[in-house]
Amino acid sequence: MIFLKWAFLNLKRNKRLTLATGFALVFGFTGLLLLSGYIKVVDRFVSTQTIYLNMVGHIGILKSGSVEDAYRNPEKYLLSSEEQKEIEQVLEIPFLKENIEKVSKKLTAFALLSAAEKNLPIYIEAYSEGMTAYIENHPQLVKWLPTLLSKIKSSDGVSLTKELYSMLGHDVNAQPIDVQVMTKTLDGYLNGVSDKLTGVHTTGLAFAEDVSAKMSLPKLQELLATDKIGTFSIFLKDETKIEEVIKQLKLSLKGKGFEIYSYNSDEIGAYYTGTMSFINSIGFFFYSLIALVSIFSIVNTLTMGINERTKEIGTLRSMGFNNYQISNLFSLEVIMLTFFAIIISSILYYVLSSFINSLKIPFEPAGSSGYVYFTIYISNSIMLAHACIILFISYLTSFIACKKKLNFNIAELLNEQGVYK
């Protein structure tokens, strides 16, 4: 306890150094928290977009080999009705049932859309009935991507993006019109179906907005003359259960020729993994930069402080304090200073993040087809994790800085004139 008091008094006595190190710590720590909060928000944007807006789901079940070869040979790599039944039976297992919020079947195809005297190449995605309504009202989408919700209108017929409506020269709010969709069936014959153009949707991806179309699963199956599907998309109630659910699914479907992936895998969530690896690389660079500047500031001010207090170290040694106790005293000072800096930084983090979030600054992330609000994620766990890291770094840095001085003998220390030997 007496060490704590001495540490506090020493900090108070060396105001100049305390303030210099304190400022470096506060700015560095606040910077790290804001950067982490931003990366976390981007992660939420992209994962929500992948899971809900693009309906990938948290988990996807596909036929083995379909990721590589389904486009070349869809007939072989799609899930037959027997395989679908097999998977549906497994999804009835109580553990899975209680963790799964929604299951959707998914089928995709390239096709030609003909309407209003125009032909457009499209990429159609078809899902089980009621999926658009499920997505449209999903709390995660409402929470993270509210600005994109205005671009969605449920549909029983064909749904297009606003860009495709504009390419067709048809108004989004006008009366539904007949559209013809044509493609080759899985067995190689040209086929076409008619439907009503009733819905609007967005992929959230700039590069996909001028080709993306959606239609009901039975209609696309009719167009492709098949009862097969491509993927089972599984939406969980609690995202933290992904690994457990995947483990159970792999166990139950072992040796049956299926592959199971989570949304953050390259196989079914390439957009998520691509975007996040880019963001994480940039984040890591800035994170390292801020962390290094903070560490060097601590080392620098501590070394200066210790050099200035060489005589004090000599006095403590002559009074009978051993190296370990003296080193601890200096470390305690740094930890105490770091602790104060963490408190101030955390307050700054909360205040700045809340202020930035309240401004609702619209911005369009690279590759996105719509704007979102610039937001900083406020999280106690981010703060606590960083606090632990910075406390450890501070302790380690101070320990290393002290160690060199403590190797001198008492006479040398007492003869020191104060600074910079």
């Binding site: 030609l112 190449p121 007949d178 013809q180 086929n191």
Partner: protein
């Protein structure tokens, strides 16, 4: 001056002869002004899939009406060739859909596109050389598309010297690489202007990039007949 004029006239005559050669060869593949009808069976092998279709074709000048004679899910399928536009219709569609350039590069549409190509109308011929194929002397022509709407920019075409029939064609990409080849056989005949003339009986269309992709068109019962223009009117085709 007289020599130049002579050369110019000689070249004009040569060009006219090549054009005439193309017209005659087109006639043996259905390019008959008053109308001709036939049945065709198409066997295709594409990306490990084998398909077989049967059609009844009614062609007149630059138009062709092709209706499936298959039953089941193909019943009522129609391909309408209006000059260079290909329309596709089946009962599940409310309106016919025009087939895009991309669709014309593979499958039935590609077969139809190649089979219906009117070389004399759409291409400018240039004599490359003479060559012997399976003992037949042929003229080898390089045909260049008259406009950019054509599916193939250039075609290398072998026409037999004696019978003036197209024996072989290579469909080239813009860079001059072979994209597809077609080989024609003429065991059928039709009565044209009071004379029996040969008519195509088999056409083998081979993909040059993927060897395993090919189609064989078997022509049967070709008859010259009067065909009404109404069947080529797209507005008459709807549900």
């Amino acid at each position: 001056m007289k020599i130049l004029l002579f050369l110019f006239l000689a070249l004009q005559v040569k060009a006219q002869n090549l054009q005439e050669l193309l017209k005659v060869s087109d006639r043996a593949r259905g390019g008959v002004a008053q109308g001709v009808s036939w049945n065709v069976k198409i066997k295709s092998w594409e990306n490990e899939l084998q398909t077989e279709r049967n059609f009844q074709v009614k062609a007149k000048d630059v138009n062709a009406y092709v209706e499936t004679s298959d039953i089941g899910r193909f019943k009522g399928e129609i391909y309408l060739f209006n000059d260079r536009t290909i329309w596709f219709f089946k009962p599940s569609l409310k309106k016919p859909v025009s087939i895009s350039a991309r669709e014309r590069l593979s499958g039935q549409a590609a077969n139809g596109d190649i089979a219906s190509t009117n070389y004399a109308r759409d291409y400018i011929p240039k004599l490359l050389k003479k060559e012997s194929i399976n003992g037949q002397n042929t003229f080898v022509l390089l045909l260049k598309a008259k406009n950019k709407t054509m599916t193939y920019d250039q075609i290398k075409y072998w026409i037999s010297e004696k019978e003036k029939l197209g024996i072989k064609a290579e469909f080239l990409t813009l860079s001059g690489k072979v994209f597809k080849t077609a080989i024609f056989k003429y065991s059928n005949s039709i009565k044209f202007n009071g004379k029996q003339i040969p008519f195509v009986s088999e056409m083998i269309i081979q993909d040059a990039i993927q060897d395993s992709n090919k189609s064989i068109l078997y022509y049967d019962k070709p008859v010259v007949e009067k065909i009404s223009d109404n069947i080529f009117n797209i507005n008459n085709i709807s549900r």
